[in-house]
């Protein structure tokens, strides 16, 4: 149910992207239909009157496949629903320009959050560099308070470590700080502020750094994805994260997106696939992939020797660390990929509602309906009813579970997406291939 306007904006994205950049024109549009309906229903007069409070609008967070470097020095990573940071070369030094600033981020159609991020997005664009090359990173501060950038896990000189007050003075609003270093060890790293860190991270200031091996054939990979995990406390009906929250988060994101707003991971049958996962939330996330046994091949501390890897279906991503997993995509299908803490694969929910499971609510609807029009008794048989119907929700609020699959409601939210393994995808084609058609006789039957 992509609207015409939506379609054209995606199209414009494709046209303006430089060589090699491809927009995911067919992203999870079909999956997003119920959420969009809820969004439309939730657009009450209040939303129009107070756009600031309601989160307002944000550009749809497209996955932008970065252009491959002209020298073929590496194969770029694909950061889901985000992009990589462009660079320029100045006297042999690769220069990046980061702008820390307030941004509006659409978590999924129907919910826009007042965040802080880099270069108009959260997470900030992924910074890709090559092992041993000199990089210079300009950090312009357009935030209302000072900031720094810490290069998490990267072995930089002490003066480049970005800890405000300890290794450098903070960068005041309006000023630009310059970091310069060369990284010797390839791997998956992160960047985030180390100034008013609790607030700035809770608002979404973070991003990933990928250091590619000098030798492009080393650990060669066909599809390389990057996902930053984060948690947020954006109460239903609000649009600004509660930065004081420590435990009771209600939005769990892959790259500051929630299902059904997260693009799938399209993979060609037989591809060697790497997923780099960073975690700057406040709890660990056991990330589970259906259909495969994979290996954890690296942390942000470096490559794990082959002899030290073991097969796994779920990898726990600790707080303040990155994990690389790799597998060969030899089993076609639509394979769920999600955090296995079940509340983390849900959208906004209350943890303090009366428990109605198994409670006989017969006749209650009618009695309550006479007193409170529009009320619907739910929960007696579980919460699946919620996913089946699009009822009006508070503004800027996503249903607890949403998404529609080929067989019905997907009943998911938060940290959930799908690895879509298909035959015959072109290299570099990251468009959503649609739903998998299961071969006859290989699917569940209802008796």
């Amino acid at each position: 149910m992509t609207s015409r306007r939506d379609f054209f904006s995606r199209g414009a994205g494709i046209l303006t992207a430089t060589a090699g950049a491809v927009g995911l024109t067919r992203s999870a549009a079909a999956q997003q239909a119920p959420a969009q309906a809820a969004h439309a229903a939730a657009k009450g007069p209040g939303a129009r009157r107070a756009p600031q409070l309601a989160g307002g609008t944000a550009p749809t967070a497209r996955t932008v496949v970065p252009p491959a470097p002209a020298d073929g020095s590496y194969r770029p990573v694909v950061t889901l629903n985000a992009s990589s940071l462009p660079y320029t070369i100045s006297a042999g030094v690769k220069e990046f320009r980061l702008v820390a600033q307030p941004v509006k981020r659409e978590f999924a159609p129907g919910m826009v959050v007042n965040c802080w991020g880099y270069n108009a997005q959260t997470p900030g664009p992924t910074i890709e560099m090559v092992q041993g090359e000199r990089v210079r990173i300009f950090v312009k501060n357009e935030l209302p308070e000072w900031t720094t950038v810490h290069w998490h896990g990267m072995l930089v000189p002490n003066g480049m470590d970005g800890v405000g007050g300890l290794t450098q003075p903070q960068i005041p609003p309006g000023k630009t700080g310059v970091y310069e270093f060369a990284i010797d060890e390839p791997g998956t790293y992160m960047y985030h502020p180390h100034a008013d860190e609790m607030v700035q991270m809770a608002m979404g200031l973070m991003g990933m750094v990928v250091v590619h091996p000098k030798d492009p054939t080393e650990r060669a990979i066909d599809r390389d994805f990057a996902i930053m995990l984060h948690s947020w406390d954006v109460k239903p009906g609000t649009a600004t994260p509660n930065v004081a929250q420590m435990l009771d988060f209600d939005m769990w994101t892959f790259n500051s997106r929630v299902f059904p707003g997260i693009d799938p991971l399209p993979v060609r049958l037989g591809d060697r696939v790497r997923v780099r996962i960073g975690n700057l939330s406040m709890t660990s996330h056991p990330i589970h992939l259906h259909g495969y046994h994979f290996h954890q091949t690296a942390t942000d501390g470096g490559r794990i020797p082959d002899s030290a890897q073991w097969p796994m279906t779920t990898v726990n991503v600790p707080v303040g660390a990155t994990v690389d997993i790799e597998f060969v995509a030899d089993r076609p299908g639509d394979w769920a990929f999600h955090c296995h803490k079940s509340h983390h694969a849900m959208n906004a929910m209350s943890h303090d509602i009366p428990n109605m499971i198994g409670v006989n609510q017969a006749g209650m609807d009618k009695r309550i309906g006479g007193l409170v029009p529009g009320y619907m008794a739910m929960g007696s048989t579980g919460m699946a009813e919620m996913a089946k119907m699009a009822m009006p929700l508070p503004r800027n609020t996503l249903p607890m579970m949403a998404g529609k699959g080929p067989f019905g409601p997907l009943e998911m939210g938060g940290m959930f997406t799908v690895v879509k393994v298909r035959e015959g995808l072109a290299p570099g084609d990251y468009r959503d291939p649609g739903w998998y058609r299961q071969p006859t006789g290989t699917a569940m039957r209802l008796l």
Partner: protein
């Protein structure tokens, strides 16, 4: 002498005839009705005097209580049917009789004495007429007429009192029933909450304490509901008494809701003047002053004179056995009481009347201002409830429904939101009641309907009532 006597007797006869005045049956009620009808447009004022006409009024009352009572019909019923008012009307008869009385001369006094000697009997006969009354007749009539007017003013005042009491009682009774209905809905929400808790308990989903809390809230509301229902009965009975209804007549119905106040507000300009012109208590006090002035004038004229009797006497001379005739004059001699105390009393009473009038007028002006301020405050409050508070409560209920749809809040929060909304609705009804009662008070304070306001400006949003807005 004889000629003189001959002239005196016919004069006496004339006086006596002149005094034989009948008491008129109307007793001045036409005046009362005229004034009262002007002050209560559209209402009929009747005095039931045991005539076949009374049947018409009984029928009218029966018709009026058939359909849900409007405020005007409640007033009409009371005017036709309130037994106390009908009793009050009898005072008109008393007062009018007093006026007639004032025009009557005292009857002549006949006296006789018979003196009996050893061998003689000497009878004497006399007739004396009080002539002071003859001279003061018109002055006393003026005083009685003034008193009669005062009683008529009193009567109209009673009618207006009754009408205002009926209107207050009526709006209170309508508000009672509306509030009782709203509270009944609140009780129903608590009942649902208690039921839900019980069902949760049966499923093992709620602890006994939380379930008991729901039950306790429901139980408390049941008692409160009985209190509210009792208050409704009490206020209905008050109206029953004012309307003079009993037996089958007490099954009248009220409309479901109080009407909305008009959008335009009455102006205070000129209202005090209207009150001074119209109020019957002031008219009565003016009449009292008039009476006191007449009484003082008369007292001054009479001075020390308190007895003036003229008459004739015949007596049989015991010696000659002839009848002796002669005039009789009875006259007080101002030796000790020259009437100065009486005049001083009347002077003081006149001054008192004047000061009472000033006091009443001062109070009346203040009452008008107070009643107007109450009316405006109630009108603004009612508008604020309607334009702001009730829509806000509705939005809370709507947002609650959305939150519940997202399973972000539960049934108890939803029901609590509805209870808050019902509480606000009851507050709104209270504000409406305050307005209509204030309206009745203000019209009572100016003894009649509010002067027609110049073409009402188009209704605009109610302003927020705040202390600063008060003129």
């Amino acid at each position: 002498m004889t000629d003189k006597r001959k002239g005196l007797l016919p004069a006496l006869a004339l006086l006596l005839l002149g005094g034989c005045t009948a008491v008129p049956g109307d007793a001045g009620f036409a005046d009362v009705r005229r004034t009262a009808s002007a002050r209560l447009p559209g209402e009929q004022v009747q005095w039931n005097r045991g005539t076949p006409d009374d049947k018409r009024e009984t029928d009218a009352v029966a018709r009026l209580i058939e359909s849900p009572l409007a405020a005007e019909s409640a007033v009409q019923i009371a005017l036709l049917n309130n037994p106390r008012l009908q009793a009050e009307y009898e005072r008109l008869g008393v007062s009018q009789a007093a006026l007639v009385q004032a025009g009557l001369l005292a009857n002549p006094v006949f006296s006789t004495d018979i003196l009996v000697g050893d061998s003689t009997i000497s009878p004497a006969f006399g007739v004396v007429q009080d002539f002071l009354a003859v001279f003061t007749r018109s002055a006393r009539q003026a005083i009685a007429a003034s008193d009669f007017d005062r009683v008529k003013d009193d009567m109209v005042n009673k009618v207006l009192d009754l009408a205002a009491d009926v209107r207050s009682a009526y709006y209170t009774a309508v508000a009672d029933e509306q509030e009782a209905d709203l509270f009944g809905q609140a009780v129903a929400t608590l009942e649902v909450a208690a039921d839900t808790a019980e069902r949760q308990s049966m499923a093992g989903n709620i602890n006994p304490r939380d379930q008991t809390l729901q039950q306790a809230q429901y139980a408390k509301a049941i008692v409160e509901r009985s209190r509210i229902e009792a208050r409704t009965t009490v206020d209905r009975e008050r109206l029953d008494r004012l309307l003079g209804l009993s037996g089958d007549q007490t099954s009248w119905n009220l409309p479901d809701r109080l009407p909305d106040p008009p959008s335009s507000k009455p102006s205070l300009d000129g209202l005090e003047k209207v009150a001074i012109q119209r109020r019957l208590d002031l008219a009565g006090a003016r009449q009292d002053l008039q009476t006191a002035t007449y009484a003082l004038d008369l007292g001054r004229q009479l001075g020390w004179l308190s007895v003036l009797g003229l008459g004739v006497q015949v007596e049989k001379d015991p010696d000659t056995h002839k009848w002796l005739k002669g005039p009789v004059v009875e006259l007080t001699l101002p030796l000790f009481d020259q009437g100065q105390a009486r005049v001083a009393t009347l002077e003081a009473e006149q001054r008192e009347s004047r000061k009472v009038l000033v006091a009443l007028a001062t109070d009346a002006r203040s009452e008008v201002r107070e009643a107007w301020a109450r009316l405006i405050a109630a009108q603004e409050a009612a508008a604020f409830y309607k334009v702001t508070i009730l829509p806000l409560q509705q939005r809370v209920v709507d947002e609650n429904a959305k939150l519940a749809s997202g399973m972000l809040i539960g049934i108890y929060d939803v029901l609590r939101g509805r209870q808050d909304q019902l509480d606000a609705a009851r507050d709104y009804v209270e504000a409406l009641k305050d307005y209509w009662v204030a309206c009745a008070r203000l019209e009572r304070a100016i003894a009649g309907p509010l002067p027609a306001t110049p073409a009402a400006e188009p209704s605009k949003q109610a302003s927020i009532p705040s202390a600063g807005d008060r003129p």
